[in-house]
Symmetry: C2
Subunit: 215 residues, 2 copies
């Protein structure tokens, strides 16, 4: 298909597609004349992922480029390719190493991973963005004096393990390894607000059960 | 205590405390001289909540003011006070009503709430920020053609119900109704990055289980 059709089918303007091509987020089409190129279904699928990252997930362009490079790296096995692609996503501010709460939070997070039996990747996990995200959040809770010890965190870790089963079930609805890696990245980002919205709705329901008086 | 001690015990600079006083986030102290006021433990606790909202949760000052007004409104029962305080938190961009995906997403979200048996607040929920957050996220998944129907969402809703039990257990560690409402708001915000970080770590573990090849 030509650029105009790619734009129509993807819902992305031709100007934006040209920008993604210039920024090397989208691979070039096959040249058919000096000024025109031909695009295919792979371009359409890639555009969908770019929109998920940039328009919905608000991932910066340079970060999106790193994520896509990891998605495309088929020299790795499926697991480490998927891990590298998710790792390239933004993970919020890094823990503040000057703060003593960070050290305590790191110990607590490591202990938690051991207790829930996430053994395989303990050494890898401790250098991952997701681990830093957890440590920064736990340190903030400690610094402000809110409850957050292993006993408090365990139920959340167990729920996270169940969520990951649902996440990977969704990923496995896709057939090819390339599509699965793309879906893993997109669904990690796109299901975050689903999860946070549902948690707040569930909190309202649970609060009603416990606290509502009268009417 | 005087301003200097409040600053030392809270870890918030006197300049920032004065700013919070001017912005009416922090109630004024009890005047002891023409230029000095006396602060108490309530001010310390309130400062902690303000930091949770503004410094960690990155909630805008005007939004924080609305949240705190709802926290302080003791004319309501505990459930609706807690609900109003969480409702005043930011919930991301509103769903785009011009997009046909939004209407379909709203039907799906309503159906989901019925199926998980969150009956009490269906009418209230449909006007809540949390519901709009869910609808906007589901609409984005539909628009981009990623899997997201009732069967996909049900496991997430069931996990959210379990998370809400953990959330409200934390809230009930506090004794007074006022402290419980404050904690509900702070913990809603502060546990979000805990949850998202743990989900990504759990995804890596689950991916290892399913996809890893070789040693």
């Amino acid at each position: 298909m030509r650029l105009a059709e790619l734009s129509e089918r993807s819902g992305v303007s031709t100007a934006t597609i040209k920008y993604y091509l210039r920024e090397r987020l989208l691979p070039p089409g096959r040249p058919v004349t000096a000024t025109q190129s031909e695009y295919d279904e792979d371009h359409l699928r890639r555009l969908r992922l770019i929109r998920a990252l940039i328009q919905v997930g608000r991932v910066p362009v340079s970060t999106a480029r790193d994520v896509l490079a990891a998605v495309d790296d088929d020299s790795r096995d499926q697991h480490s390719r998927l891990g590298a692609a998710v790792e390239a996503l933004p993970h919020g501010p890094r823990p503040d190493e000057a703060d003593p709460a960070t050290d305590a939070a790191r110990h607590l997070a490591t202990d938690l991973l051991r207790r829930v039996g996430w053994h395989f990747n303990l050494r890898i996990a401790e250098h991952s963005g997701a681990f830093h995200m957890l440590v920064a959040a736990v340190a903030a809770l400690h610094r402000l004096g809110y409850p957050c010890d292993t006993a408090h965190l365990l139920p959340y870790a167990r729920q996270a393990a169940e969520l990951a089963v649902a996440d990977l079930d969704l990923v496995e609805e896709y057939e090819t390894p390339a599509e699965q890696v793309e879906a893993a990245v997109a669904l990690t980002v796109l299901y975050e607000p689903v999860l946070l919205g549902l948690r707040r709705l569930a909190e309202a329901e649970e609060s009603n059960r416990r606290f509502r008086t009268g009417g």
